[in-house]
């Protein structure tokens, strides 16, 4: 077993474990911390895929910004441990979860049977992950979408302020 594969296995097992802790913990703070660990593990996985820019953005945006927001809201709400973890179980929910499993099996089978010709990482991949390559693509081919993201973020700021206001005058 090569070192890269060993690294992938460690990161993969830890990311799955932390994801399970996230959805199964009674204490919301434990969930949030497990999710931070999950984001760091995913960042490591991006590094094994030679995507340095995405790996750094993962830590900055998710672990740095979004999770701080989530932890802040947990603190503001002052929640205790949940006594009842899930809603009442009825036939509809059980069927929904069964369908989720069917969906996952479908994903895995599609991936395994219908892959494009991608057995090896091409030589250009190391350059494709850099800020230079992504920046060039972002500001030439995807300029309109980039501007649209700016408008979206502005709308999100205005919306969040409006929702957080106690009274709108």
């Amino acid at each position: 077993m090569s070192l890269t594969l060993l690294l992938f296995l460690i990161l993969g097992v830890l990311s799955i474990a932390s994801a399970i802790v996230t959805i199964s913990s009674r204490n919301p703070v434990v969930s949030a911390m497990a999710l931070v660990l999950h984001f760091f593990m995913l960042s490591g996985l991006y590094l094994t895929l030679q995507a340095q820019f995405v790996a750094v953005m993962q830590i900055l945006v998710y672990a740095g910004a979004i999770m701080v927001l989530v932890v802040f809201v947990i603190m503001l709400l002052n929640l205790g441990d949940e006594k009842k973890l899930s809603e009442k179980w009825n036939i509809r929910r059980i069927v929904a979860i069964l369908f989720a499993f069917v969906l996952a099996i479908q994903f895995i089978s599609i991936y395994i049977t219908n892959l494009p010709d991608a057995a090896f990482i091409p030589e250009s991949a190391a350059f494709n992950g850099t800020v230079q390559a992504i920046g060039t693509d972002l500001f030439t081919n995807y300029l309109v979408q980039f501007e649209a993201i700016a408008v979206l973020l502005l709308a999100a700021i205005v919306g969040a302020l409006l929702l957080a206001k106690r009274k709108i005058t």
Partner: protein, 103 residues
């Protein structure tokens, strides 16, 4: 370039994480945990994007991950503001106790 990890491993891992996120959304009643489960699902899709981007030698997948992250950040701000407004009005964040629209 010699590579030890096949693309299928990344895709399988992403499917498993997506499944965990789906179960979290369907089962949990705490709105913040539901919210975190949605983040899990978005992240697993990101992993798929980056995997294909690397193995096909195309930058487009990573640019898409950038967009997904921006949308996730906007969604986080709005979603948590909604949770706060909900808590202020109903004193609960458990989704089964919020049934104003149910009839």
């Amino acid at each position: 370039m010699i590579n030890a990890i096949p693309l299928e491993y990344y895709l399988g891992l992403a499917s498993i994480i997506f499944l965990i996120g789906t179960v979290g959304v369907l089962v949990r009643r705490n709105a913040i945990i539901v919210f975190m489960s949605i983040e899990l699902m978005l992240n697993s899709v990101n992993l798929t994007f980056v995997g294909f981007s690397t193995y096909l030698g195309d930058t487009a997948g990573q640019v898409f991950v950038f967009f997904v992250m921006a949308v996730a950040a906007a969604e986080a701000a709005i979603g948590l503001a909604i949770v706060l407004a909900l808590f202020r009005n109903k004193q609960t964040i458990y989704v089964d106790e919020v049934n104003v629209l149910k009839w």
